[in-house]
């Protein structure tokens, strides 16, 4: 009989204790952050979306090589003499036109390994983390500042320069060969070995 009432009393009393706890919590300030309107304070070294400052990029391809998932795709075209590409902010001379600098954020694992190798500190993490897309292709970011036409012009320029250079080289080589031939005419005894050697190399 005593147990019966003790049990009843214990049940009631513990319920009251529980109610006291929950009632106190009504007045505890909520821990909710009203997300889209109030944003949480991010940690100092948070890793989010990458950004490339193309004014500073020298097209060295180091970030691409450091990337463990190969999400950075870089193509460059050499500049021709006489073209001034300017300098980077830390004083490096730019020598390459960057015609392609794609980062695929669908692949990116936000490891930040591409950031330390950059000699000009042009690739870095921003604090943007809301960039979800409906299509995977939209996550392929193109950072190149050149237009399509400009890219083609640069490529053409370089090819023309290359052709010109080849031509010059060929001309120079021809000239050298002629000179050599002329020289060899005067000294015919050396001529015996050379053709055979050349043939071997070609084979």
């Amino acid at each position: 009989m005593r147990d019966y009432f003790l049990k009843f009393w214990e049940g009631l009393f513990t319920i009251l204790i529980g109610m006291k706890v929950t009632f106190r919590h009504i007045f505890v300030p909520a821990v909710t952050i009203q997300y889209p309107s109030v944003k949480p304070q991010l940690p100092e070294r948070e890793r989010n979306r990458l950004y490339v400052n193309m004014d500073d990029c020298i097209g060295c391809d180091q970030c691409s090589r450091a990337c463990p998932v190969s999400c950075i795709d870089i193509e460059t075209v050499k500049s021709i003499p006489g073209e001034d590409l300017g300098k980077t902010s830390n004083g490096k001379k730019k020598a390459l036109w960057v015609t392609k600098f794609d980062i695929d954020f669908a692949k990116c694992c936000y490891c930040e390994l591409c950031v330390p190798p950059c000699p000009t500190d042009c690739i870095y993490m921003t604090d943007v983390y809301e960039f979800s897309e409906f299509e995977r292709d939209s996550l392929l970011y193109d950072f190149v500042t050149l237009t399509q036409e400009e890219k083609e012009i640069k490529k053409k320029n370089f090819e023309e320069f290359q052709v010109k250079k080849e031509a010059e080289k060929a001309a120079a080589a021809k000239k050298a060969a002629e000179e050599k031939a002329a020289a060899q005419k005067e000294k015919p005894e050396i001529k015996h070995d050379k053709p055979t050697d050349d043939k071997k190399e070609i084979d």
Binding site: L12, I15, T22, F23, I26, A30, V31, Q34
Partner: protein
């Protein structure tokens, strides 16, 4: 009386009866359900250190209206394997049962749907429809979880009706009336005339009634809480075991009917506790209207006190819901049959003896 006033105004008994019978629904149950759903979410959120709905309107006050609009727009799904007639009729029956209870509840001395002499017995009887509706819903759904939920609900409501009725019987025995209006009028003037403090009895009798009434109030509160299937007695719904019990298969407005019925029931049982033990619409102290000599103010004050008491008990129900875990079925039955029913029998017996003094 509002009915008399309307009858004088319109001269048509049918029209005035119609308005009076719809008044609790539109003036009270619907606004209350809108408010209570939001209050439930806000109370639960703040008890768990969250904020709850915050987007619709200032601090989310329009959230329930948005929810209702969504529910109205939803497709009314009727699964192929259900018993269509019963399935469609069940939510109406459940809602009708809880709505009909409001007919005999005195909101204030002039606002009472029907002044029948058998008020309290009528309420107990008509809320029995809810059991039938729930059982119907569970059976017609042709779903094992629904059926289990409905069976549990029926077992639970029938078991817990016994202590409720025994306590009500005690009160009827002491006061000698079945009418809720008369019962409220008996507990008039000051709060020490409330039944919880021994009622209108005097001297030694009042002193002896006091502990009985305190325990009785506790018993009736617990058992009515179980009757409306709320936590810790929510085994019929038990979302972690039974999906959501008897209304698993319902969607759209039919689901909203169950929801409305649940909240209407919550207020109905709170109102019963308030009327029986806490003086109903009576103010705990005098009325401002009487002091100032404004007769029309008194019913409004009474309505305020009645709503305040009802809402307080609804708040306690919510508070308990977010404090206590759910009972197991055997614990539930043991609690009713081993504790509540013997205790209420003892109260009935003692109250009977004391009333002989």
């Amino acid at each position: 009386m509002i009915y008399d006033w309307l009858y004088n105004l319109t001269g048509s008994p049918i029209l005035s009866m119609f308005v009076v019978s719809l008044l609790p629904l539109f003036a009270f149950i619907l606004p209350f359900a809108l408010f209570a759903v939001l209050a439930e979410r806000k109370v639960s959120a703040h008890m768990q250190d969250r904020l709850g709905p915050m987007r619709v309107g200032y601090h989310g006050i329009l959230q329930t209206i948005a929810d209702i609009i969504k529910l109205i727009q939803k497709e009314d799904l009727v699964p192929t394997a259900v018993d269509k007639k019963l399935f469609n009729f069940a939510p109406l029956l459940v809602f009708a049962g809880s709505y009909a209870a409001f007919a005999a509840i005195p909101f204030s001395s002039i606002f009472i749907g029907s002044q029948i002499q058998l008020g309290i017995i009528y309420i107990v009887a008509v809320t029995g429809l809810v059991v039938a509706g729930i059982l119907m819903a569970g059976w017609a759904s042709n779903n094992k979880y629904s059926l289990l939920g409905a069976m549990r609900s029926a077992a639970q409501i029938i078991s817990y009706e016994i202590p409720t009725l025994l306590i009500i019987l005690t009160i009827i025995m002491i006061t000698g009336t079945l009418s809720l209006y008369t019962l409220s009028e008996l507990q008039t003037s000051f709060f020490w005339n409330w039944m919880i403090f021994g009622g209108p009895a005097e001297g030694l009798q009042k002193f002896l009634y006091l502990p009985l009434m305190l325990v009785g109030c506790l018993v009736i509160y617990i058992s009515t809480l179980a009757e409306v299937n709320r936590t810790p007695f929510d085994i019929p719904e038990a979302e972690s075991e039974l999906v959501s019990g008897y209304h698993t298969e319902y969607s759209g407005m039919k689901f909203a009917m169950f929801f409305l019925a649940e909240y209407a029931n919550m207020f109905a049982v709170s109102a019963i506790v308030a009327i029986i033990f806490f003086g109903g619409y009576q103010s705990p102290f005098g009325y401002l209207g009487n002091t100032l000599g404004l007769d029309w103010l008194v019913p409004i004050e009474q309505f305020f006190w009645f709503t305040a008491k009802g809402l307080f008990f609804v708040f306690v129900q919510m508070w308990l819901r977010w404090t206590l875990p759910r009972f197991r079925v055997d614990q539930l039955m043991a609690f009713c049959w081993k504790y509540l029913i013997p205790i209420s029998f003892v109260i009935l017996l003692l109250a009977g003896l004391i009333s002989l003094i």
